[in-house]
Symmetry: C2
Subunit: 255 residues, 2 copies
Amino acid sequence: MGRVIAIANQKGGVGKTTTAISLSASLAAAEQKILLVDIDPQANATGGLGIRDGEVGRSIYDLLLQEVSYQEVVLETKIPYLFLLPSKTSLVGAEIELVGEEEREFLLKKALEELRGEYDFIFIDTPPSLGLLTLNALVASDSVLIPIQPEYYALEGLGKLLETIRLIQKRLNPNLNIEGLLFTLYDGRLNLAKEVAEEVKKFFKGNVFETVIPRNVRLAEAPSHGKPILLYDILSPGAVNYMGLAREVMKRDSN
Amino acid sequence: MGRVIAIANQKGGVGKTTTAISLSASLAAAEQKILLVDIDPQANATGGLGIRDGEVGRSIYDLLLQEVSYQEVVLETKIPYLFLLPSKTSLVGAEIELVGEEEREFLLKKALEELRGEYDFIFIDTPPSLGLLTLNALVASDSVLIPIQPEYYALEGLGKLLETIRLIQKRLNPNLNIEGLLFTLYDGRLNLAKEVAEEVKKFFKGNVFETVIPRNVRLAEAPSHGKPILLYDILSPGAVNYMGLAREVMKRDSN
Ligand SMILES: Nc1ncnc2c1ncn2[C@@H]1O[C@H](COP(=O)(O)OP(=O)(O)OP(=O)(O)O)[C@@H](O)[C@H]1O
Ligand SMILES: Nc1ncnc2c1ncn2[C@@H]1O[C@H](COP(=O)(O)OP(=O)(O)OP(=O)(O)O)[C@@H](O)[C@H]1O
Ligand SMILES: [Mg+2]
Ligand SMILES: [Mg+2]
């Protein structure tokens, strides 16, 4: 039974999409069957896997409004075992349109119900906001993986993210856990990074992944080639770190 | 008559808030009277100026719903000539609530109408999205300043941002111009940055600021002290670069 994990943090540019793609691809390389769901109107996870905006016919948006079956939307990627429910930049207007739907917070949960059994893991890449699309992802998920860049604004936003998670656990999804906090874009030479990381570890104790993802330009180059880091440069520190994260997630899964 | 400039880019983490605070403070140091409007529910511009979330009574949200007068919301900051219309993290639910309001795209424009004459410049810091709050900012503005980190996903998103600006010019705000594109978090040692910057310059020609903002850790440290870079470390490259940007903006203004 596939585990559904949302990748969320309303702070912008902290490595949500990079983590969603890199972790999915690393698990697929270990022959886990993976579905990556892109519900961000920026459609970066879709573009980062080499699928142009114009090439996407049906998108996750059509699935949320239950106008199509899942088979009409799911796409194969360059990596065996890795499948994608693509987004489209036209989803920008979706959030306002979904507001009027019935049970608007449960649309994604319903859409994933019939397909959960086919995958080992389902990851959901979310937009930088706590609006309706991200709420849908948190309601549909078993747990949430929180990428965090160790800087001040990202730290400030954690409180609000945790408050939102608690509200969702109370009212919409009692099973929602925290998969863990992942330090991304980490530059060990900076005191700022070390100080913020210390503060987060004190607060979250065991919930912080041992794997840390340092800043590595190859991770920023890979999406312009439409490839996950594993295909773009498997020897780079970025690829090695995300494979370490994949091992940690699988270890937690088997416990 | 105050010029209203929105600082917008739906890509997350490209330096919108850092630019909004740093540019506002630099112009205030040149004795221009500045109002900084924070309409991002993350309330980072408010926090970056040293105002804690709990300290904010009335926020920009109350002003949008016209429940209070502007005098009840505007705050002084540590810098003379710099004033703030603060945000609150409780604004997160606002976007869904504003959807039902009449003339929902004009709420901010109406709120700023009576006060424009009191300032030389009004800057609006926006969230990383093209939703209703950012639309309000673009409708209320004379021009939009677009911070861009020279990386692939930020480049991908530019097309959608320009499309949205064109739609707004056609239907909601014919006077909206592009103030300019500003390269931020620029690391000149990386080929990726140089290649993306070249592509942007080819496309935008004269619309790119000469000032470039390199990556400089003092800019990331300043918000944890609740101070703009000018007060935190006036000798840092970050402060010097943003003062250069302020000069460029004033020069354009006097032409
Ligand atoms: N470890 C890393 N090293 C270097 N660059 C990185 C790393 N992780 C991400 N990046 C780059 O940093 C930028 C931000 O990352 P990304 O887009 O994945 O963040 P995000 O949280 O998904 O952003 P958004 O909030 O806009 O959805 C991108 O240009 C990406 O290529
Ligand atoms: N030139 C710079 N050098 C170093 N750090 C920077 C620079 N500009 C911004 N930062 C840091 O990078 C992070 C992202 O910047 P900032 O929060 O201003 O971007 P934003 O576009 O406002 O993000 P969001 O999309 O979440 O609103 C912050 O931690 C900020 O302190
Ligand atoms: Mg993303
Ligand atoms: Mg910001």
